[in-house]
C-alpha cells in the first residue's frame, strides 16, 4: 500500500471538494483497501466519510431513501426492505459474507470495481487499470467476463449483486456536488459500458459524492434474485438475475429484469421487459425473452457458456415468478 494522508470529512460538500482534488473516499473499505494493498488503487489522500450523516433509511415519496453509508447488512435487515423490496434484500444476502456486508456500504458497493483477473494483476496489461496498455482478458482466461456490451478495450464485468436488484427496481442514485447541488441518476444509467474508456466504471465525476439510493414505491409482485456461482456461497456471480414481476388475470402486468455477471454494468434491457408485459406466461415467451436479451451476446471462449446458462436460468426465474412449475 502506498503511503497516503488520512483525514475525515465533516460534511458532504467537504468530501466532494476532496474528490475534486483527487482524494479517494473510504467508507467500508472492503473493496478499496483490497485494491490499495495490491497498489491497483494508489490514492495520495484518503478521506474517511464514515462520520457523515448518511447512515439511515428514510421514507420518501412512497419509497425509501437509503443513505450511502447504510451497510449492506443493515439494508438487508431493514424490515421495510425485507417486506417491500425482497429482491434487494435477497441480492444483498447473495453477495459476499456477513463479515463483508457488515462493512460494505450502499454507496461503496455501487462503486465496486471489477474482479477481472487481469485488472487484479498489476503486472499484466489492462486498459481499465492503465489506459492504453491493452486488454489481457482478450486472448487470456475470460471465463468470468462479459457477453454483452463489451468492447475491444475491455470485457470486464461489474461484479456486484445489490446493484442488479437496484436496476430491476429502477432505483435512483442521489449524487451531491461540491456546491451542494444534488443530481439523480437512475441506477440503470449509473454504471457505464467500457467503450474506449474502460477506466471509468460509472458516471460519478470528480467533485461528486453518492449520498443515497432512492427506491421508488414498492412494485409488489414476485421478487426473485437468482445467482449462479462456482460454489454454494462466497463467490461472485457467473450469471445472476433480479426479477420483479407482477401478474394480473393470468397475464404479466409488470416485468422488470436485470442481470449480473453479463456486462460491465448491471444489465437491463427494456425490450425484454416490454416483450413480457401483457403476455400470458409460457415457455415460448420465456425463450423469446432470452432470445431478445441475448441477440447481441458474444462469448470470448471460456465464457461462451454464459449464453446458454443465462437462457436456462432466465427460464427458471420466469417460471417461478409467474407460477409456472419447474
Amino acid at each position: 500500500m502506498r503511503a497516503f494522508t488520512y483525514s475525515r470529512a465533516e460534511a458532504v460538500t467537504h468530501a466532494a471538494e476532496q474528490t475534486r482534488d483527487g482524494a479517494r473516499l473510504i467508507a467500508g473499505g472492503t473493496n478499496l483497501l483490497d485494491l490499495m494493498k495490491l497498489e491497483i488503487e494508489r490514492p495520495d489522500e484518503l478521506v474517511d466519510i464514515n462520520r457523515l450523516e448518511l447512515g439511515t433509511i428514510d421514507e420518501q415519496d412512497g419509497g425509501l431513501r437509503i443513505g450511502a453509508l447504510v451497510t449492506n447488512s443493515a439494508c438487508a435487515a431493514d424490515e421495510r426492505i425485507r417486506r417491500d423490496y425482497p429482491v434487494l434484500a435477497r441480492a444483498i444476502l447473495a453477495g459476499a459474507t456477513f463479515q463483508l456486508r457488515n462493512k460494505a456500504t450502499t454507496g461503496g458497493n455501487l462503486c465496486q470495481r471489477t474482479r477481472c483477473y487481469y485488472f487484479y494483476n498489476r503486472d499484466q496489461p489492462c486498459n481499465k487499470r492503465e489506459p492504453g496498455s491493452g486488454c489481457s482478458a482478450l486472448g487470456g482466461f475470460n471465463r468470468i467476463h462479459a457477453i454483452l456490451g463489451a468492447s475491444e478495450s475491455c470485457i470486464a464485468t461489474y461484479p456486484g449483486d445489490m446493484a442488479v436488484a437496484l436496476a430491476a427496481l429502477d432505483a435512483k442514485v442521489e449524487i451531491a456536488a461540491v456546491d451542494g447541488s444534488i443530481r439523480s441518476v437512475p441506477v440503470r444509467a449509473f454504471h457505464r459500458l467500457p467503450g474506449d474508456t474502460p477506466e471509468r466504471d460509472n458516471v460519478l465525476e470528480p467533485g461528486e459524492v453518492i449520498t443515497a439510493v432512492v427506491l421508488p414505491s414498492p412494485a409488489g409482485g414476485a421478487q426473485l434474485y437468482r445467482k449462479v456461482r462456482d460454489r454454494a456461497s462466497y463467490a461472485f456471480a457467473l450469471v445472476s438475475i433480479a426479477c420483479v414481476l407482477g401478474m394480473e388475470d393470468g397475464r404479466i402486468s409488470h416485468a422488470s429484469l436485470a442481470f449480473g455477471g453479463l456486462a460491465h454494468k448491471p444489465w437491463h434491457d427494456e425490450r425484454v421487459d416490454a416483450l413480457l408485459l401483457g403476455r400470458e406466461p409460457s415457455d415460448a415467451l420465456f425463450d423469446e425473452a432470452a432470445d431478445v436479451l441475448l441477440a447481441d451476446a458474444r462469448g470470448y471462449g471460456a465464457n461462451d457458456f454464459k449464453i446458454p446458462m443465462t437462457k436456462r436460468v432466465l427460464k427458471a426465474v420466469l417460471r417461478e415468478a409467474t407460477g409456472e412449475n419447474a
Binding site: G140, Y234, M309
Partner: protein
Amino acid sequence: MTRSLTMDEPDERNRLDAMAQGVIGKPLDRPEGPLKVSGSATYAAEYRYKIPGCVEGVLVTATIARGEVTLLDESSVRDLPGFIAVISDERMIARPAQGGAGESPVRKVREVQYYGQPIALVVAETFEQARHAAKHLKVEYREEPDALVDPADERATFEPFEDPTIQGDLEGSMRQAAHAVDVIYTTEGHNSAAMEPHASIAQWDGETLTLYSSLQMLRFNRKELADALGIEPEKVHLLSPYVGGGFGSKLGISPEGVAAAVAAIRLGRPVRVVMLRQQVFQCVMRRSETRQRLRLAADAEGRLIGFGHEAWVSNLPEEEFAEPVLQASEFLYPGENRVLDLQLARVHRVTAGSVRAPGEAVGMQALEAAMDELAEASGIDPVELRLRNIPERHPSEDIPYSSRKLEECLRSGAERFGWDKGPRRPCQRREGEWWIGSGMATATRVHNLNEAHARVTLRGDGTAEVASDMTDIGTGTYAVLGQIAAEMLGLDPAAVDVKLGDTAFPPGSGSGGSWGASSTGSAVFEACEGIREELARKLGCAEAGLTLKDGHAVSGNRKVPLADLLEGRDVEEIGHFKPGKIAEAFAAAMYGAFFTEVAVNAYSGEVRIRRFTGAFSLGRVLNEKTATSQCMGGMVWGIGSALTEDLVFDPRDGHIVNPDLAEYHLPVNLDVPHLDVLLVEERDPAGSPLQSKGVGELGICGAAGAIANAIYNACGVRPRSFPITPDKLLPGLPEV
C-alpha cells in the same frame, strides 16, 4: 539410552491391546485444543512480538516466465521511508524444497524459470513499508521469448518419468473384453492453500541461526536450510510448534524462510518474512494438472482382465518429482494385462510437488470415475463390481497384501448410506429444480513409514514427557503421541506432556505422506518399551509380568505408585524407529469406500452434495476423534477437487490467473453437508509396531470420483474433466 526398532517383518505382538490403561484409540480431545480455540497457540509469524528489533521482509517475484534479472534498481526504493535493503543473494532459493529432499532446492534467484519466482527480498522497518517497497522496486529482465508454459502446447514433449509397468497384452484384452472402457480424464492444478501463509522469522547470533517457521518436516528442513546457507545443520535451530496447515506445501524449506535467514545474517537483525497470500499460490507448490487415459477390460462377470492407466503431468526443469498418479493403480485392481505409464513434460510453471495425497488424490478420482463407466457398461452394480475386483496378490509384484479391509468398507459403507443395489439409470429422480443421484467410489492410499526418533521421559513424579521435532499440522499428533505414551506407561493422558516442533528434540519423522503418527508413534512406543523394562527391573519382575495402570506399577500382588518406584528420579529413553524391509514385503495400504448423494440443478448445472458417507480402514485407530476429523477433511478436499478447485494458468506467460482465495475456490461451509465417517476396526501387523497405518490423506483418495459418479447418476452428464463446474455440465443437461 536409545533403543532402535527396525521393522523387517510384521509385528504380531500387538502390544498396545495388551496394555491396561485403555486410552489408545479413545476419542479424546486434543490436548492443545484450549490453546488453539483461545488464540494462544503461537504460530511462526507471531513470535515477532516477542523479538525486539525484528524487521520485515517481503519477497519480490518475477513477472516473466523465463529469462534473467538484469537489474534490481535499489535507487528506486532507497528513499522510501523505512527502507533497509534489497537482498538478492546466491544463497536464496528460487523454489521450495521437495518433501524429504534434505538439501537445498534450486537457488539461482536471478535466473527466472517461472512467473512468480522469488528474485529478491526487500527489507524495511515495518510490513507496510516493506510491501510497498517490494512492489515499487524497479526490476529489469532479459526475457527469453516463447517460454514453454503450457503442457497442452504442441511443443511440449512428454517423457517417461519412471519405468512403466507393462504386462501381457492390454490391447488384446481390450479386444477380447466382454466390457471395456477407454476414456480420458483430466484434472487441473491444485494449491494446498493452508490457512496460515508460509512465514518465517530468522535470528542470527553470529553462530547459530534460529528460525521460527511453518514447516512439516524439521529434520529435513534443517538440512535444506543449512545447505542453502552453507552452514552446518547443527547451527540451525528450527521451531514449528504450531503449523497452520500444511498439506504438503510446507514439507520442504520454502523461499521465505531462506530469504529471512539470509537477510538476518546480512543485516545482523532479526527478520520476518511472511508470504502474501498471492505468493503462496505463485511460488510454493502446485499439484500438477493431469491428463489420464484409463483402459479397463473386463470379462462377462466384470472381472478385470486388462488394466491400463497412463498419465501425463508436468513440472519445472530440474525437479525430481512427478505427480505419482498411478500409485494406487499399481495394486488396487487386478488385470493380468497391464500398462501403467507416467509421463512428464518440463514446463515453466511454478514447482509441482506434493499436495495432500500426491498421486491418489487425482489418480483415484479418475480411476473410480472410469470404474463407474465400466459398471454402467457391464450392467453390474458399482459396489458389486469393486467386490469382484479385489486381487489375491499384488498384480505386478509377487507379494501379498497386508491387512486389507476393502470389502468390509464397501459393505459397511453401503449399508450405512443405504445404497440402492437396483438398476442404475441417470435422470430418474427429480426434486423441484434438482436432479438427484447417488454415486460411490473406492478409497485407497499407499501406506508409508519413515525413520523417526522420539524421547520419552518418565519423570520422577510419575508424569511423563514426550519430545520430538515431529510436527502437528492439525493432524492430531499432540493427542496421539500422548495417548501412545499414556497407554504404554499406564498414565492418564493428561499426565503426559507432548513437546513437538523443535529441532532441539530428537528428530521425528515429520508430517507428510500420512506416515507421521505411525512412524513417530512407533518411536514413542519403542522408548516406552525401554522405560517399561527399566520399571520392571526396579520392581524386580519380568517386563512381561508388568502392568502399568493409573500411575501404578503392578506385578503379581504388588502395586506400587510410579512416583514411589522412581524415587524421584527420571527415566529417559529415546526410541528410534526404522521402517526396514517391511515396505518391500507387503503391499500395505489404507482402504475405504465413499458413498454420496448429490443434487444437480436442472437449469444451471450447479451441484450440491446432500449426503456423504465414508467408511475407512486405517489399521489401528489411535484417536477416534482426530482420525474421524482427518477423514472428514479429506472428504472436503474431495468436494473441492470434484467441484470447485482449479488453478488456472495464463496460456501466454504461465502466470497463475487466480492466485487468491476469492477466485481459487476452496469449499466453504455451505458446500459441505454433514459428513458421515465410519471407521472400520482393523489391526495391521505390517502397518507398524502399533498395527496402525496412515490417516490424513485417505479421505480424499477417490472422493471426487464418487461425486462425479453421483452427478452422472443424477443428470446423465460425465464431463470427464475436473472440477465439474456448472459450465461443463450445461451442454449435456436435458433441455428445460
